[in-house]
Subunit: 387 residues, 2 copies
């Protein structure tokens, strides 16, 4: 297989984007990525798009063809494919695009993610998102997503020394980072008190432990590494792509506080990149809830189970720490347009590796992305590095 | 890229399957494919599944992980990915699986398709299916799928010498084939009079011009060609995989009676296989409506525009004709569980190439599948041959 590089990135601002349609969101992100790579649409050979549930959010399926059309590429009849794995849809789109380029099947490929969530009410959103879990054995029994992650948090806090304050510090850190990110949905810093006094959503998770409902799109452009410098002076190499699955329902897991799919996808990624964990300089992990960031740091192997709360409190995962986590603000503060999140994570790592992250810039040459579907039934991990 | 072969196939019966859930359908098809290849689940490296709209049909997304779980593969944490392109979802799943094996990323890969359509009422089904077209500019304006294909038929019959009787002969032929297929939803032969006197759905299309609402699943197992004979004495080689897109809305097309994505995907497939059209011995084309089979035969280049009606009348596309089309009964008689159709087409070609098609057996060494999403915004063409 050929080595693959990222030659362009583009991202809309994230938020409640009443002025933009689903189609507009993708076109904006795609246009930004093309401009970043100094390419025109005619250079694109294929597209992959991650989207969780346009069927329920905007009553539209057939998303691959739709976005190729609205991107002005229908006359060239390029292959355009939607992939879906709930909140990991973006990460999967990136992975399929990497495989398409690595295989030699395609040269210049767009990997994109888009979700327009605010065209339905909050109740419909929550119900749609429950489709990422086991509808028959969780959703129909009344479990919502915050409810499922609350079970993880309850189990975790019963077994490991994580304090309620440490959990809140994840949100405080990610809002601090988001405040420095021009695309973030929430650009205000918050205090520990804000989190601890916010409304209880599902005990122990409060409003500020939860990522928001978000509209947004992100796109990246891939090329064979050997051709990357035709398009950019700062190509970023894809060092590994790894994907793992697990039971769809939380109650079927070996251990609900350890996401085995994260463990396995992480191991596969480090093996593929032939790198020890210590070489990772910073990462974007899937903090759909504060407890999810705690689990991710541990399940990816950066510390033992039960230690990530202390690391967070000590500032290890802060912008100026040894292992900055979610420099973008994460899902928590940057926002979580589910299908777009996995691609936005890649955009953030690329900005950091290029030294284009402005006030949230950190040092390093290798970054990691970690994108989770549902409560961990799909996990996608990518490792990216400067060339 | 490596050559890829099909080493196992499995298909549920198609129909209104009240006794089976979405999950059951996949497990049945997957188990049949494993048994056919004499493999166990532990040999599977990855899965791709085509599904159009489980989000709206059964309120469930995250289909890749779901089916890996219910297939008993969650403990091995295999990558499992859903792809969607409306009614072409199955064809796309097959294509992504081919790319995964060809790239060297995976060895033994399941490509599956599944749709459970009858758990919602007919009105909801029709509305969900309209999500395959342009929701904003077609669906919201009142266009249903039969309505859109009726526009194609009206335009076509105005410009080319296709009679209403010739159109009906497509349905008569496909029901004749379906009557010989043990998995077909409709196993009764019909007469020209049955079609011509059936209820008008969207002028000129009548009830028997339309494919039905169907539950079903199909699965095939792929391996590198060089390893295929470890598993089967009758591997079928994938000679070409091709995909093309077009505008999502019919009114944006260059010519609504010619599906350009079929033309382009066909050309790409023949170029990849390095074969002239005359080498194709039989094919499964996407006859969601009778007019669609007429267009497909022409747009794939097997005759000039306007001639397919006459070829049908002359019996060229019948089981005993020179170019048998839809030996399975097609979408019309075998049934059309949208996400499964593209995989079922592959199963039919493999059965024919192996000489296992029973009463509907035809001669030949090379077959073609043609799977359409929406009114032609996505088309996937595969060419398969004996080894």
């Amino acid at each position: 297989m050929r080595d693959v590089a990222i030659i362009g990135i583009g991202c809309t601002t994230f938020g409640e984007k009443w002025e933009a349609s689903f189609r507009d969101l993708f076109v904006e992100a795609g246009s930004l990525a093309l401009a970043d790579a100094e390419l025109a649409g005619e250079h694109i050979d294929a597209m992959y798009v991650g989207n969780m549930s346009a069927g329920r959010f905007i009553e539209q399926e057939h998303i691959g063809a739709l976005i190729a059309d609205y991107a002005g590429l229908s006359t060239r009849h390029i292959p355009s494919t939607r992939v879906e794995a709930a909140c990991a849809s973006g990460g999967l789109a990136f992975r399929q695009a990497v495989i398409a380029v690595a295989s030699g099947m395609e040269d210049i490929v767009v990997a994109a993610g888009v979700e327009k969530m605010t065209d339905v009410g909050t109740g419909a959103s929550v119900d749609t998102l429950a489709g990422a879990a086991d509808r028959e054995w969780e959703g129909f029994m009344g479990a919502t997503f915050p409810g499922l992650y609350a079970m993880i948090a309850t189990d975790y806090m019963h077994r490991y020394p994580l304090t309620r304050e440490q959990l809140a510090m994840v949100a405080v850190k990610n809002h601090r980072n988001g405040a420095k990110n021009p695309i973030a949905q929430f650009r205000s810093e918050i205090t520990l008190e804000t989190v601890l006094s916010s409304a209880l959503v599902a005990d122990p998770l409060r409003l500020f432990d939860c990522s928001p409902i978000t509209d947004g799109a992100a796109a990246v452009i891939l090329a064979p590494l050997e051709r990357a410098r035709e398009f950019t002076d700062t190509p970023v190499k894809v060092l590994a792509t790894a994907q793992a699955s697990d039971t769809i329902a939380l109650h079927d897991r070996r251990d609900i506080s350890c996401l085995d799919a994260t463990v396995v996808a992480g191991e596969r990624a480090f093996a593929m990149a032939r790198l020890p964990r210590g070489k990772i300089d910073f990462m974007e992990v899937h903090d759909c809830f504060t407890i999810a960031e705690i689990c991710a740091i541990e399940d990816l192997g950066f510390c033992k189970k039960g230690e990530a709360g202390r690391l967070t409190e000590e500032g290890v995962t802060a912008l100026n720490g040894d292992l900055p986590v979610n420099t973008s603000g994460g899902l928590k503060a940057c926002g979580h347009p589910v299908g777009a999140t996995g691609i936005k994570q890649v955009c953030e790592i690329v900005q950091q590796l290029r030294g284009e992250a402005g006030a949230r810039q950190v040092d390093g040459e290798i970054g990691l992305t970690h994108n989770v579907g549902g409560t961990g039934a799909t996990v996608v991990v990518h490792i990216l590095g400067v060339t």
